[in-house]
């Protein structure tokens, strides 16, 4: 190389140097952290430290069970929900729907401001308005009715509401001058209330002491699934099985195996509606064997004479030997317990079935005994108004009066009867017939879409409230629900709305409802409770009492004396006991299958369908996600040439729907089953347009004694549409296919 650097070389060096320096500069820049900010609070929050979790105890309202929950919050945001360990209902456990409360709070489909209808009624077209405007409009309408003394033409239909909010609703309607306050709940066990009233003369559900029982005989009650208080029964079931040295035995009587049936030792596939007869046949057998210890054995022998196992065997589809064997086991196990509910209580003879179950308990000597049926003491809460539970018959009457000319205003609170009642009830037409409909809900749904004005509600994690669980746990217990986070949107709680309306309507309402807020109202009510109980409380003053309840999330008082059964009970049961045959809509020849819709823990009556976690939770027995399905026995499927995934047309006398077939071994061949919950038309992005709703095609059959909807009394025709879909499920096959999973040498699945 020559040591001369010519002009060309010089340019090369300059170029290389510049490019190198530029690359170095950029490389150094790239290795820097991006600018991040330290954003301080404007005002220092008193109740948390950043990075440290704060737990708040409150109460779950996802179903009526009233479990205590502990919510983990960080920086003022709810992050996780767990069961409250000191709460006697759930003892620290929580179900999937309870866990999914966060999906309720953070749901993107929440209504965020008051809405005013701006299109045709029922078109679902709304535009936002201010709270001032909304409340002024509504109080104007209600105030006018009151002045004209036509307030009885105002109706309040709510979902299930417990505790003092129920009192407040009742007081408000009373002050307004209306007697039309109802609570509607699809899963309301109307026949169970009626049966217990007839047998024991009690208005609240008794305490089923599954925990201490040694033999649990369930007639249709899916106590591990969606019956009454599933988390409490789940904990109790665990204790029954493994809590003591003697493992309790479980027998489940139901035409379609539920989660409880799958966990039982024995599944008794009785015909739908025959559960009560079966119970009486067992009672008959116990009395005949001389295992009944009561003094009136003669009376019972006579009363049960018509229900010999042999005569019931054919009607129930269960052999006489088997009935006698189970009866003997039931009578000799101590303590034993029979429970009834679900489909057994939702036949046309539902109440009679459940009375029969009570009779079996009485004959088995389980009433008033630990491990049997215990009675909850009458609630000791001041002004604890009984909930105006509307049976199906009440709802039909309500819709009839709504359709009359004089109905003026309907207030809907947190209820979706368009979805949870059969289409034959004509809910939509009845609601549309009312001139002015006010909706209160956190979410748009099929019923809210019919409203004229919608007030967005806080979720239960943002609002004050309280709850007395029903069924109770053998002693009086209550929980206060407190906001665990500041409200996310421009929403209010139902209590605050009612109080604001009362103040604006004026007249004597503000004087009789003087509270400034739901929180203030609750505190005043609890102050009265404290004053009447101050002897039992170690708290120094109300403030301490109040904050200790908020901190622990539960308040209860154990009864000094256990509530004993009434002496005349045996006689009451003798006279209440009678057995009607179940009847079904649709003649057996044409409508071959009895349809059994069933509630799932995840969706309840469909309210859980807008929660993404619940949508992606596989059904515990079929493992299906995201859709509806029709369960068929393999024999039925083979006979009709149906394979899994065939889209079926399901027709009842009241309507038709389509859903894919799922072959399910544990169902009677003359029964088909469908899960409740899917099939929403207008319930947010996660629920809408998914699956089909079996409630829709239910025939308007009624349990005569309670007026409840007999939702397992509809017969259907099944036919193939010719289309097929892929059923999305997490299981491969339910067959063992020689894998020897059961560990038997010649296992057959």
């Amino acid at each position: 190389m020559s040591n001369k650097i010519n002009r060309r070389d010089f340019l090369k060096f300059v170029g290389a140097g510049t490019v190198g320096a530029g690359a170095g500069f950029l490389a150094a820049d790239a290795s820097k952290m991006s600018t991040e900010f330290l954003i301080p609070q404007v005002n220092l929050p008193e109740d948390y430290s950043p990075g440290i979790a704060t737990w708040y105890n409150t109460v779950c309202t996802q179903c009526s069970a009233g479990c205590g929950i502990s919510v983990r919050t960080r920086e003022g945001r709810a992050k996780k929900i767990e069961g409250n360990r000191s709460h006697p209902v759930n003892e620290g456990r929580l179900c999937a729907l309870g866990q999914a409360g966060l999906n309720v709070l953070y749901n993107p489909d929440r209504i965020r401001t008051p809405l005013l209808r701006d299109g045709e009624r029922g078109s679902g077209s709304f535009s936002p308005i201010s709270w001032d405007e909304a409340l002024t409009t509504i109080s104007g309408v209600l105030g006018t009715l009151k002045i004209q003394e036509k307030a009885n033409n105002a109706y309040l239909l709510s979902g299930s509401v417990h505790g003092h909010l129920n009192d407040l609703f009742a007081l408000f309607m009373d002050q307004l001058g209306s007697e039309n306050y109802w609570q509607h709940e699809f899963s309301d066990p109307a026949s169970l209330y009626a049966a217990n009233k007839a047998c024991f003369d009690v208005d609240v559900l008794p305490f089923y002491d599954i925990r201490n029982s040694k033999y649990l005989l369930s007639f249709g009650a899916d106590y591990l699934g969606a019956w009454l208080s599933p988390v409490h029964y789940g904990v109790s079931y665990g204790h029954l099985r493994q809590g003591t040295e003697q493992r309790g035995r479980c027998v489940q009587v139901e035409p379609r195996m539920s989660l409880s049936g799958a966990n039982a030792d024995e599944w008794v596939e009785a015909r739908p509606g025959s559960e009560g007869m079966l119970a009486l046949a067992m009672a008959h057998s116990i009395v005949e064997q001389g295992l009944y210890s009561g003094g009136d054995a003669g009376d019972w022998k006579q009363a049960l004479g018509a229900y010999s196992p042999a005569s019931v065997a054919e009607r129930s589809g269960i052999s006489a030997d088997r009935i006698v064997r189970i009866a003997t086991e039931f009578a000799s196990a101590s303590p034993s317990l029979a429970i009834g509910g679900g489909a057994a209580g939702a036949s046309t003879n539902g109440t009679a079935n459940l009375v029969a179950v009570n009779v079996l308990n009485h004959i088995g000597g389980n009433i008033g005994e630990p491990g049997g049926i215990l009675f909850n003491p009458a609630s000791t809460f001041s002004g604890d108004t009984p909930r105006p539970r509307a049976s199906y018959q009440d709802m039909l009457n309500l819709f009839e009066s709504l359709s009359r000319d004089d109905a003026e205003v309907l207030i809907l609170h947190d209820t979706n009867p368009v979805f949870t009642l059969p289409s034959s009830a004509n809910v939509t037409a009845a609601v549309m017939a009312v001139p002015y409909v006010i909706g209160m809900s956190s979410f748009m749904d099929e019923t809210m879409a019919l409203a004229d004005i919608i007030l967005p509600l806080d979720t239960y994690l943002e609002a004050w409230g309280d709850s007395t669980p029903d069924p109770g746990v053998g002693f009086a217990v209550a929980s206060i629900g407190q906001p665990v986070v500041k409200r996310l949107y421009d929403t209010r709680s139902a209590g605050d709305i009612i109080l604001a309306l009362a103040h604006q309507i004026g007249g004597e309402l503000p004087a009789n409802m003087p509270w400034t807020s739901m929180e203030n109202y609750l505190m005043e009510k609890w102050r009265a409770i404290y004053q009447s109980k101050s002897n039992d409380s170690s708290a120094q003053g109300f403030r301490e009492f109040w904050s200790s309840i908020l901190e622990s999330g539960v308040w209860g008082e154990r009864p000094l004396q256990p509530v004993r059964p009434h002496q005349a009970m045996s006689q009451a049961m003798l006279s209440a006991m009678r057995m009607a045959q179940p009847s079904f809509a649709g003649n057996e020849g044409e409508y071959r299958f009895v349809m059994q819709p069933y509630l799932s823990l995840a969706f309840q009556d469909g309210r859980g369908a807008n929660l993404p976690w619940m949508q992606e939770l596989p059904d515990p027995l079929t493992s299906v996600v995201y859709n509806s399905w029709v369960e068929l026995n393999p024999k039925t499927a083979a006979e009709l040439g149906i394979r899994e995934g065939d889209v079926l047309l399901v027709e009842s006398t009241a309507g038709r729907l389509e859903a894919p077939a799922f072959i399910y071994q544990a169902i009677r061949p003359d029964v088909v089953a469908m899960p409740i919950g899917q099939g929403h038309g207008n319930y947010g992005r996660y629920a809408s347009g998914r699956g089909s709703n079996p409630i829709e095609i239910l025939a308007p059959e009624i349990d005569i004694d309670s007026g409840g909807l007999a939702w397992s009394a509809t017969r259907v025709i099944i036919s193939k549409t010719g289309r097929r879909v892929h059923v999305i499920k997490t299981d491969g096959t339910t067959r063992e296919l020689g894998r020897n999973i059961l560990g038997q040498e010649h296992g057959h699945a």
Binding site: G17, G20, A23, G24, A28, M33, I39, N43
Partner: protein, 180 residues
């Protein structure tokens, strides 16, 4: 005539190699220029807050403002309310304090720029280090002499491990202590 010695030394390299050398030299120079004149160790803050005046002259303890340091992972920046607690009456006419008052009046947080930061995959907590008896100055330097905060440590892993080793921290060299 003397020739330039560098050129002579380089004489037996081929020209393309020289070009690479010059490029590399430029690269190093680029990095140096960036970190010397364009560094992020001492960013300009939205308000010219002086630690020298507060912590130095007025001897306000660190944790009077950084309230969470002993209790939580993050030391915490004082809330705007906290600033106003004193500055409602102190130095209210200074232009920088007027800015603070304005933030408070508008109820907006002051967007301070982070000087010390560790990546998200590092689990660092102030609480532990204060419990272990470290002084704030051990890592953050003589804050009480700085008007504007200048980063003293790049907070790289060798520096952390070095200290953990010297102080014989229990499980101080365990991966999961910081990366969890």
């Amino acid at each position: 005539m003397m020739s330039i010695s560098v050129l002579e030394a380089l004489a037996h390299f081929k020209k393309p190699t020289l070009v690479v050398f010059v490029g590399l030299a430029g690269f190093v120079a680029g990095i140096w220029i960036n970190s010397t004149y364009f560094g992020d160790a001492s960013p300009v803050q939205p308000i010219e807050f002086s630690h020298r005046i507060h912590a130095g002259e007025n001897e306000i303890p660190c944790q009077y403002c950084h309230v969470y340091a002993a209790r939580t992972p993050s030391a915490g920046v004082p809330s705007v309310e906290k600033c106003m607690g004193c500055h409602k009456s102190i130095a209210t006419d200074k232009p920088e304090i007027i800015k603070v008052a304005q933030y408070y009046a508008e109820q907006t947080p002051i967007p301070w720029i982070k000087v010390y930061d560790v990546p998200d995959f590092v689990h660092f907590t102030h609480k532990r280090h204060i419990k272990a008896g470290l002084e704030c100055q051990d890592c953050h330097g003589p804050v009480d002499t700085m008007d504007r905060i200048t980063r003293q440590q790049p907070l790289r892993m060798p520096w952390c491990v070095d200290c953990h080793t010297k102080k014989e921290v229990e499980n101080g060299r365990d991966c999961l202590t910081c990366h969890k």
